[in-house]
Symmetry: C2
Subunit: 150 residues, 2 copies
DNA sequence: GTGCAATATTTGTTATGTTAAATATATCAG
DNA sequence: CTGATATATTTAACATAACAAATATTGCAC
């Protein structure tokens, strides 16, 4: 099927298959399918998982930095961190130097959840690599990183 | 900064910068920033815009097909289409052959909104192309399409 | 110290994601 | 033709998140 089949009256923008934001979300939905399944097993949402992953990678950090890295708005993050606190998966405490800042950190229980899902996550990553190819995947990640320059 | 700076105790998964789902969402957030700004001007949400874009590209189509293309669950889409109906941007009518199916189509008013935003959208696309590069952008879109095979 | 900016949280509203159930139509075996 | 099943979509209900505005606290310049 070419881009001209099945079109409406007069498309004035690039095909949605060649639209960056739509192509990104379509790819992401495909990737997230098995991951959401994995997470629903342990009662963790996508955003909660993202916070845990960022905390694991970068260590304890203030709320603003965490929100930037986890792609969350601060008010949303505050509520998500609260539920993670109740679950005992993270801690939150005021910074000693600047008491406006709240430092969030992952707990052993939080780390345990990541460790538990490690095999699943690796299997999902392997499946993706199998379909897309190692080389293209590396290219993709390189290009995606470039978007941070926007 | 290397991947080893600022790490927590023992990261067991790839850096979030090399994690496909997180890299996809980070890139998408960067791209969507100016687009959300553009859309807020005309009181259209991201999902509403996606529906209009897909309807413009593929023409009138049944709800299931539309949902698949716009990356929306049917119940969410039903509500979004209802608000688009109230705004007069789309129409919905039962299919003649199979009256279970609902055919959704964009109206002239809906098309007008797309046309209105055309210049803005082109400027945003041009900015992305300027930063990422035409060639890499084409590569990116090719690779993202491959994810549909997952 | 006063005023202003910065950091987070809190609150309220709206929109969406998600699951299950309900509705309407179509298909098909008998 | 009837009843059972399958398909397409909507509705309902709840949880989550986006977003905007208000509040509280701290840090900093003057």
């Amino acid at each position: 099927m070419t881009d001209d089949t099945e079109t409406a009256g007069s498309p004035v923008l690039p095909s949605t298959r060649r639209s960056i934001p739509i192509a990104l979300i379509r790819a992401r939905e495909k990737v997230m399918g098995p991951i959401r399944e994995m997470l629903s097993d342990c009662g963790i949402t996508e955003q909660q998982w993202r916070i845990l992953r960022v905390l694991e990678e970068y260590g304890p950090q203030d709320a603003s930095t965490l929100a930037e890295r986890a792609c969350l708005l601060l008010p949303s993050q505050t509520r998500i961190v609260q539920t993670l606190l109740e679950k005992g998966l993270v801690t939150r405490q005021a910074d000693d130097k600047d008491r406006r800042k709240q430092t969030v950190a992952i707990t052993a229980a939080g780390q345990a959840i990541i460790d538990d899902k490690l095999q699943d996550a690796k299997a999902i990553a392997a499946r993706i690599e199998e379909v897309i190819g190692k080389e293209k995947l590396a290219q993709l990640l390189d290009i995606l990183e470039d978007f941070q320059k926007l």
